[in-house]
Symmetry: C2
Subunit: 259 residues, 2 copies
């Protein structure tokens, strides 16, 4: 009988382990991802989402079968920018560990500023105001800059500032400033997300924000949906891209766990 004792103890230990699992309340989940279809917004010089349906019918075997194939630019819809997008030699999307893709999120809200200036770039002062209220942003945090642009999706003219196919010279939407990007790099955040098409504002032609963040091995999340549902602090973000070898980015499914 003594020989059985360790087994019993192990069983008790396992039950204890199970109760230590972080229980995720499914009612507190928010989907921050837009659907991929013919209306999904891509950069004006990229082709949109292409989807081929195969089957979608009863088979000779007497059962239903539906499948398909799709083609997408790495950077379109709700997607992740990997550091190699704008920084040579940095991580591709498959090289970002899942531990960097799941973590605490904070929201710097510049909706009021962006409503007054559609080319607004969130500033280091906006960060300072956030930190004065909530404390310094910790390393590993996923920072979301909220502009309020989500309610314009998927109207290209209102969301991108221009709906001329192929033309990237007349875009207007808010983004980050280089000074803010430098501050976030100093804080060694894991990633920076935004509810517009780009971390750089529409008129940018040097993509300096991408360059600063990617050089610091920080990824981006663009075209986030439902950002208005995120609190300033307390949410956990889960941002999972497809694991594309040598991907410079990927469509991503982004989910928040509300506090």
């Amino acid at each position: 009988m003594n020989a059985a004792a360790p087994v019993v103890l192990l069983s008790v230990a396992c039950v204890a382990c199970a109760t230590q699992v972080p229980t995720i309340d499914r009612e507190r989940l928010v989907d921050l991802s837009y659907v991929y279809d013919e209306h999904t917004l891509y950069w004006p010089n990229a082709e949109g989402f292409r989807h081929r349906k195969d089957g979608w019918a009863m088979t000779e075997g007497g059962y239903w079968y539906a499948a398909g194939e799709f083609t997408s630019a790495e950077h379109g819809g709700t997607h992740l920018d990997s550091p190699i997008h704008f920084a040579e030699g940095k991580r591709s999307v498959d090289e970002i560990p899942v531990g960097a893709l799941i973590g605490p999120a904070v929201v710097i809200d510049v909706s009021a500023q962006a409503a007054a200036d559609r080319d607004y770039r969130a500033t280091a002062e906006d960060l300072a105001a956030f930190e004065a209220e909530h404390g310094r942003i910790a390393a590993g945090t996923i920072v979301v800059v909220r502009t309020g642009w989500g309610n314009r999706w998927p109207d290209a003219l209102r969301y991108l500032g221009d709906d001329t196919p192929g033309d990237t010279t007349n875009l207007h939407f808010p983004g980050l400033s280089a000074a803010l990007a430098e501050q976030l790099a100093l804080r060694r955040v894991a990633g920076v997300g935004i509810d517009t098409a780009s971390l750089d504002h529409g008129p940018s032609s040097d993509f300096i924000v991408h360059r600063i963040l990617n050089e610091a091995d920080i990824y981006g999340l663009e075209n986030l949906a439902n950002a208005e549902r995120l609190p300033a602090t307390g949410a956990t973000l889960i941002a999972l891209p497809i694991k594309i070898a040598e991907g410079t980015g990927s469509p991503a499914r982004v989910v928040a766990i509300l506090p």
Copy 2:
């Protein structure tokens, strides 16, 4: 001064909220997804993963730029089968709520049986044995059937049983039995995953397991990686596909939180 009191209280309340967030220990995360590249296994009659690189060079502006585009069958690599795959009128991948894609996972291990019979189909008795030890599987659970096939990836001959391009008539790998699928449907599980190419075993031509589960609005997860790292109970699974409108499935990033 009294007018400020509610603000102070609100601030205190927010701090309390933050501490209630389920903290996810990044050290306990396991990536259950294979990389997408030219070696990724697809069904023999499907084209493999295609990836085009754009840029990957210094620009005239003096900065690095790399982007790309990719094409994939909905069902290849580590992916999700949506209920509409084999059940007319059921949910497409964009219609599965995120709450069904994140939840407690259990593992029914049939590695020993599959090692003795590469066409093994996990049985209702395998489920009964699991439940005798761990209790009845609760509604909403994500059930993983582990066959030990992961160590054969990405060797098509060993993993699929045949590496003849286009030929689906000589496949050999383990899966589930119809009787087990019916029992899991009765338990109203959220999804069923496996570390082989299909929930139906290789020789199947009627795909009865897919049909039973999909008809019950249960999704599938196929080609799971690193299944050997999952405990029988206590893990949380996060299985996030791309939100493809009318997608019958999608490449998915699947992550486990270990207990």
